[in-house]
C-alpha cells in the first residue's frame, strides 16, 4: 500500500500508524491507545486486517513475539507516509476551521 493506498482507505490505517509513531505496540495496546487518542475502538479483526495491509506495504513491521504477542513497529516509510497524510489533514483542517469560523461570525 502506498500513500495513495492509505489515502484511499479508511482512517484506520492512519490511526494505527499514528499510534505506532508513539512507539511499538502489540494488538491490545494498539486498541487501547487508539481508543484513547481518537475515541475509536477497533475490533481485533479490523485491527489485524489493517496491520496486514500496512505490513504488506512495508509501513509497519512485526517484532519478535513477547509472550505470544507480536509488537508492531512503524517503519521509516510508515513515518513518512503518516506524516504526509497528517500534514494534508492538518492543512484541510486549518482551511476548514477558518471557513467555519468565518461563517459563524
Amino acid at each position: 500500500m502506498t500513500m495513495e493506498g492509505i489515502r484511499g482507505s479508511s482512517d484506520r490505517s492512519v490511526l494505527v500508524l499514528t499510534s505506532l509513531a508513539g512507539g511499538s505496540k502489540h494488538g491490545y495496546a494498539l486498541i487501547k491507545d487508539i481508543e484513547g487518542f481518537a475515541g475509536v475502538k477497533l475490533g481485533p479483526g479490523t485491527l489485524y486486517g489493517c496491520l496486514a495491509k500496512l505490513e504488506q506495504a512495508g509501513l509497519v513491521e512485526a517484532l519478535p513475539a513477547e509472550e505470544r504477542r507480536h509488537p508492531y513497529r512503524i517503519t521509516a516509510s510508515g513515518l513518512e507516509a503518516v506524516k504526509e497524510r497528517l500534514t494534508e489533514s492538518a492543512r484541510i483542517a486549518t482551511v476548514g476551521l477558518g471557513r467555519v469560523a468565518g461563517a459563524m461570525s
Binding site: G27, Y28, P44, L51, A52, H70
Partner: protein, 232 residues
C-alpha cells in the same frame, strides 16, 4: 485458535492471512473478552465482518493477478503470432502466406515449398526441383529452369547457379525467410542456399509458400517429398 470465538470463525479468512495472523487475532480476542472490553456477540460479529472483508480483498487481488496473467499471456501469444507471420513488417513487405490445405510440400536443401496436387514436381539431382502444371510436359534438362511458355513453372535451384543479382535489392520476408527478388521472377534466399525461378499465373502463390524446410526427416536433405526423379 484454542478458544471461542475465533476458532470457528477463522475459516472465513483467506488461508494465507489465517496462517499469519489467526493466532494473534485469537489471543487478542481472548484478551479483550477477559478484560470485558467487548461482548462475545459483538466480537463474533466484528470477526465475521472482517473475515468477509479480508476474503473480498484477497479475491480482488487474486482476480487482478489472474487478469494480469491472462493479459500477459494474450500479449505473448499475439506477439508470437505476429512474429511468426512477420506481422510487424520489420524492414520488409508482408502478406499473408500459408501452405494451403491439400497442397503437396516438397523439400529442397534447406527450403520447403508447396504446390497444388495438379503440379508435377521432378528433380534432377543435384540440379534442383522443377514443378510445372502443364501435363505431359517433360524437362529437357535438369540444369536450367526452362519451362513451357504456357502454364506455371517454379524451379528451386542451388544459390549461385544463376548469377546472384540480389545485392542492393530491398529484401522481402516470406514466412520468416529473407528473400531478394530481381523483378524478373527470380527470388534469392541466401539463408536457405537456394534461389527460386517462377513464372506463370500461379508463380507468386507458390513462392508465397516458401519457408524453411520443416518436413519431418527432410531438413537439409537434397530433396524430398512427392518428387519424381529424372535423369540429369
Amino acid at each position: 485458535m484454542k478458544s471461542w470465538p475465533f476458532r470457528c470463525l477463522a475459516k472465513l479468512y483467506p488461508k494465507a492471512w489465517r496462517e499469519r495472523y489467526a493466532d494473534e487475532v485469537n489471543d487478542l480476542s481472548a484478551e479483550l473478552l477477559a478484560a470485558h472490553e467487548v461482548t462475545r456477540p459483538r466480537l463474533a460479529l466484528e470477526l465475521v465482518r472482517s473475515g468477509f472483508a479480508e476474503r473480498l480483498h484477497s479475491l480482488n487481488r487474486a482476480r487482478f493477478v489472474a487478469a494480469l496473467s491472462a493479459s500477459a499471456a494474450v500479449v505473448v501469444l499475439l506477439v508470437a503470432a505476429l512474429l511468426a507471420t512477420n506481422g510487424f513488417g520489420l524492414g520488409a513487405t508482408t502478406s499473408p502466406r500459408v501452405t494451403p490445405v491439400g497442397w503437396d510440400s516438397v523439400g529442397y536443401r534447406d527450403a520447403q515449398v508447396s504446390f497444388p496436387p495438379s503440379f508435377e514436381t521432378v528433380t534432377s539431382m543435384p540440379g534442383g526441383i522443377f514443378s510445372v502444371d502443364v501435363p505431359s510436359w517433360s524437362f529437357a534438362s535438369g540444369e536450367t529452369c526452362v519451362g513451357p511458355s504456357r502454364g506455371t513453372v517454379v524451379c528451386l535451384l542451388p544459390l549461385g547457379q544463376v548469377s546472384p543479382a540480389y545485392t542492393g535489392e530491398q529484401p522481402t520476408v516470406i514466412n520468416g525467410v529473407t528473400v531478394y527478388r530481381d523483378g524478373k521472377g527470380d527470388y534469392y534466399a541466401p539463408s536457405l542456399h537456394i534461389e527460386v525461378t517462377a513464372s506463370g499465373p500461379m508463380a507468386h502463390r507458390i513462392v508465397d509458400t516458401l519457408t524453411r524446410n520443416r518436413i519431418p526427416g527432410c531438413a537439409h536433405a537434397l530433396s524430398c517429398g512427392s518428387i519424381t526423379m529424372t535423369e540429369g
